[in-house]
Structure formats: structure tokens, C-alpha cells
């Protein structure tokens, strides 16, 4: 099985936020929840870079490690998913996540957290693939249809890459070779313990 990864080429990202919009639309993500976002570092200064970030589907996922109800699981494609039926919305995964991926709907008292929501790598949840129940809780399951995550698929500059880690790393290396520079694969060291330098 492939080891699915995300890679954002910061030299190409133009902060158009199409990935964010595509994600929200594809999964009908509620207001206030952002499975994917674009962060601009060194804004207005030399070396400004924009990076699209979502759940990186870590190798040794911190969210899964700290979850009090053990609601996370990793698929055969190395996608980190969770079961909303056993999530209690404690918020621990947000404290542990290096990428700020877990999101919580504001429900109930004191702006308390509802069940956690995060990027599923367009791979749905524990229910039967492509059912209405799965769509309601987790959004569409493109992986089960043989498609890759929509954010990367519709990235206009092809900055955001999704797919087998070895293949997207190869694409990135070829780019770096071609243009002679790169700014590294953001989050790879933290998520996959891989050091893909430019």
C-alpha cells in the first residue's frame, strides 16, 4: 500500500486559498471549522512564503497517542482517521497536534467543544464507504473512489501535492533540481521524521 502524504511547495503557493475553499465545499464543512488553511510566514518581508496546512497524517500521530478514548485509527494507506461516535470533544488532540489540525464545533455551554473534526485526506470515516451517514459526519470519501484529496487535485499552481510519499517527494526533487532552489517540505520532519531538503 502507498504511504499517503501531503507536500506543500512554498515556492509555488500563491495564497489563493482555493484548497481551503475546495475542502469546505467538498465536505460541506460547517462555519468556523477549517480542515485546511493557508499560513503566510514573513508576511511583507524578504523570504515571505505561504504554506497550505492541514492534518499531515503523521507516522506516529500525537493526536492518537493522547486521545483518552482511543478514537483514532490509521488506515492501510497511512491516513489518520477518527471515530466521532467515540470522540468526547476533550480537546487534547489540539494540544498535542503540531499542526493545529483538530477543529471543534462550538456546541453547548461555555463555547464548549463538540466532537472533533479534521482533514480526512478525503477518506471519510469508519462507516461504510460513500454512504450518507459517512458523508454527514466526515464528508466525501474520494479515496474510496480512486481519487486523491480535492485540495491538491485542484491547486492551480500545483503547489500542494497529495499522494504516495515517494512519488510526491520525487516530483518535488525534480522541481528543485529544475529551478535550482526550494524552501523545504514544511512539516515533513515533524510529521514523517523525513528530511526532504530543497
Amino acid at each position: 500500500m502507498a504511504r499517503m502524504m501531503f507536500l506543500c511547495d512554498a515556492e509555488r503557493c500563491i495564497e489563493c486559498n482555493a484548497c481551503v475553499t475546495a475542502c469546505k465545499n467538498e465536505h460541506e464543512v460547517p462555519w468556523g471549522i477549517n480542515r485546511r488553511r493557508v499560513v503566510t510566514i514573513n508576511d511583507g518581508k524578504p523570504g515571505e512564503r505561504s504554506i497550505s496546512m492541514a492534518c499531515m497524517h503523521c507516522t506516529d500521530a500525537p493526536c492518537a497517542a493522547v486521545c483518552p478514548t482511543s478514537c483514532f485509527y490509521t488506515t492501510a494507506d497511512a491516513v489518520v482517521l477518527h471515530d466521532k461516535d467515540t470522540c468526547i470533544g476533550c480537546g487534547y488532540c489540539f494540544y498535542a497536534c503540531p499542526f493545529g489540525a483538530p477543529q471543534y464545533p462550538r456546541v453547548g455551554n461555555f463555547g464548549g467543544r463538540g466532537k472533533m473534526d479534521k482533514c480526512t485526506y478525503c477518506a471519510g470515516g469508519p462507516q461504510q464507504d460513500n454512504t450518507a451517514a459517512e458523508y454527514r459526519d466526515y464528508g466525501s470519501n474520494r479515496l474510496a473512489e480512486g481519487k486523491l484529496p480535492l485540495c491538491a487535485e485542484m491547486c492551480s499552481t500545483k503547489a500542494l501535492l497529495a499522494g504516495d510519499g515517494q512519488i510526491i517527494a520525487q516530483i518535488y526533487r525534480e522541481r528543485v533540481q529544475q529551478r535550482g532552489y526550494g524552501s523545504g517540505a514544511w512539516g515533513w520532519r515533524t510529521a514523517y521524521r523525513l528530511e526532504v531538503q530543497s
Partner: protein, 336 residues
């Protein structure tokens, strides 16, 4: 796989270097600082515990953090430090109490029960105590469940039942925090005047208090002895710190950022397990550990002999104020 990638990367770097050098042609432009390398920045922030943050166009400012390596340290705290500190504190105090009970047994009233009682805690005192105590027990159990439940309870009852239990535990934890805090405040108001530490407490501790001094009476104490004052201040100060850190967690990101939330959880978790261990000792000495002690918070009426042995000065004061001891219920008045 990672080694393979590294090898590829090294090759790419070597190939890229001359290409970059050839790019410089014509008039030199202003030098531009090299863009930060993801690897270098991640490594540097990981070592210093800092965050990589930037600008974001969505309202949620927490999302402006790109990478926060401190999450890994928090994970280490939650999964390793807290589990060990909590486990050792709670099992340790259980072992100490079991050993104490096995060697010392139940501490009796030396003179035996007199049959005459004196009021130690009135209805208000007792209501405040039991409101705080009952909420504390539920808060403690639902809190411990978040750290130990998945090892101890989840395998027994299965994921669905455990999730339901934990969800109700979380709701109870969030709501009962309020009566618990009220109880802490009321206890402070009701009992602080009798809990100011003084010289007698030092003598009391030197003599081993009411616990270790076998046979001999503990040194005379006022309404509260040194040990009770310790429990009082631990409850009030510890309870206040646990309450404040707890409210920060209940209203996530209302007062602080991700680093503050993590710190609040660390303070909350560590203080809570230590308080649970201390309160377990308090429960022991107030129930099976000492004859006559439970009545103080049960009926509020303690045996006069118990009171004289443990709180001689307080009994004198009460007597002086004319609040004498009541005769045993059902006793006939002399002459009848």
C-alpha cells in the same frame, strides 16, 4: 524509505548548486535574504520549543500557528509524566494507608466513648463540606478517567460504553466545577479564622500529631490541629489553583493561547492527582482510621472524650461560652 529519500535529496542539492550560481547575470539587484528552510526552521523551533506562526485570513487566530513543536512535549507530559506521577501518588498513598492500618489499626478514643456529645460542625459547616466533597469525588473520578480510563476501563466495557461514560464524565466535570469552587470559597470564609498556623501546631507536628504518638495524647489543639490546618490550606489553595486552571480549560482560548492551554492542563493535572492522594488520606483518617472522627462531619456531634483528646483547647472555649456537652439521647434527667 527515509534513507532513500535523503540520498535522492543529497543528489538533488549537488545538482542544484551550480544552476543557482549561473542565475546571476547582468546588473546585480538588491540582495534578498534567503528564504527560511523548512527543515532548519522546524529543527530550530523544535529545539527552542518555539512556534512557527504567520498571518492568516480566517478569523480563527489559533490557525495562524503553522507548526507548534511544544505539542510533542505536552504529549510526553500527558502520556508519561502525568501517568507516572498520578499512578505513584495514588497507589503510593493507598499502600501507605494500608500499611498504617495494618500496624497502627483504628485509633481509638483513649478514654472510651463518654456518651456525652458536643457540637463540632453545624448544619452549614457540614453542608459546605459535603457539597465540596461530593463534587470533588466526581471531579476526581471523571478526571482520572481521562488519563487512566483507556487502560483500565476501556478494555473492560468496550469503546461505545466507554465513550458514553467519558462523555457524561466530561459534562459532569465541566458543570460540577462550579459548586466545587463555591464550596472552596465558603470553606475559606467559614473556617479560615480557626486555621491560622501558630506555635502550637509546631509542637503538635513534633509530637507526631494524633497519628504517630501511640498511647500518649497529642498536644492540646484548638478547633483545628496542625494536620487539619494542613488539609485546610491544601484544599483551599490547591483547590483554587485547580479551579483557576480548570476554568482556563473549560473556556478554551478565551484567556490564553495554545501554550497557555497546555500549561493550564499541566498545572491542573499535576495538582489534581496530588490533591486526590492527599484527600484519600483525609478520607481514611475521617472514617475507618479513627474512632469518633466521622461524627464531626456526620451528625456534627462528637463524643466529648474524643473532643477533649484531640481538641482540648477548643472544648475549653466552647464550655466557657456555655455551649456545653449534650447528654446522651434518651438519658433520663437526674431525679426522674
Amino acid at each position: 524509505m527515509s534513507r532513500l529519500l535523503l540520498a535522492f535529496v543529497a543528489a538533488a542539492l549537488l545538482a542544484a548548486a551550480p544552476a543557482a550560481a549561473q542565475n546571476v547575470v547582468g546588473t546585480p539587484t538588491n540582495p534578498v535574504a534567503a528564504p527560511p528552510q523548512a527543515l532548519e526552521l522546524e529543527m530550530q523551533q523544535m529545539l527552542t520549543g518555539g512556534r512557527i506562526a504567520g498571518r492568516i485570513t480566517i478569523p480563527d487566530q489559533n490557525a495562524a500557528n503553522l507548526i507548534q513543536p511544544a505539542g510533542q512535549s505536552w504529549r510526553e507530559f500527558h502520556n508519561v509524566t502525568l501517568t507516572w506521577v498520578g499512578g505513584i501518588a495514588i497507589l503510593g498513598i493507598l499502600a501507605v494507608l494500608a500499611l498504617f492500618y495494618a500496624t497502627r489499626g483504628r485509633i481509638p478514643i483513649e478514654g472510651g466513648p463518654s456518651g456525652r456529645t458536643i457540637e463540632r460542625f453545624n448544619l452549614l459547616d457540614r453542608s459546605v463540606h459535603w457539597m465540596t466533597a461530593s463534587t470533588f469525588v466526581i471531579l476526581a473520578l471523571s478526571g482520572l478517567n481521562l488519563t487512566f480510563g483507556r487502560f483500565l476501563i476501556l478494555p473492560l466495557i468496550g469503546p461505545e460504553a466507554f465513550a458514553t461514560l467519558s462523555l457524561w464524565g466530561k459534562i459532569a466535570h465541566n458543570f460540577l466545577a462550579f459548586p466545587f469552587t463555591l464550596g472552596i470559597v465558603l470553606m475559606l470564609v467559614l473556617w479560615v479564622k480557626d486555621n491560622i498556623p501558630n506555635g502550637r501546631d509546631i509542637a503538635w507536628f513534633k509530637a507526631g500529631g494524633g497519628l504517630l504518638g501511640n498511647g500518649a495524647h497529642p498536644p492540646a489543639a484548638g478547633r483545628f490541629n496542625g494536620g487539619q490546618k494542613m488539609v485546610f490550606w491544601l484544599t483551599v489553595l490547591g483547590g483554587a489553583a485547580v479551579a483557576v486552571s480548570g476554568y482556563i480549560l473549560v473556556f478554551p482560548f478565551a484567556f490564553t493561547d495554545i501554550a497557555g492551554q497546555q500549561l493550564a492542563h499541566i498545572v491542573h493535572g499535576l495538582l489534581s492527582v496530588l490533591m486526590i492522594a492527599a484527600i484519600m488520606a483525609h478520607i481514611y483518617i475521617g472514617s475507618i482510621g479513627m474512632e469518633g472522627a466521622f461524627d464531626a462531619m456526620g451528625s456534627g456531634q462528637v463524643d466529648l472524650n474524643w473532643a477533649k483528646e484531640h481538641h482540648a483547647l477548643w472544648v475549653e472555649q466552647e464550655m466557657a461560652r456555655g455551649r456545653g456537652a449534650a447528654p446522651p439521647a434518651g438519658a433520663a434527667a437526674a431525679g426522674d
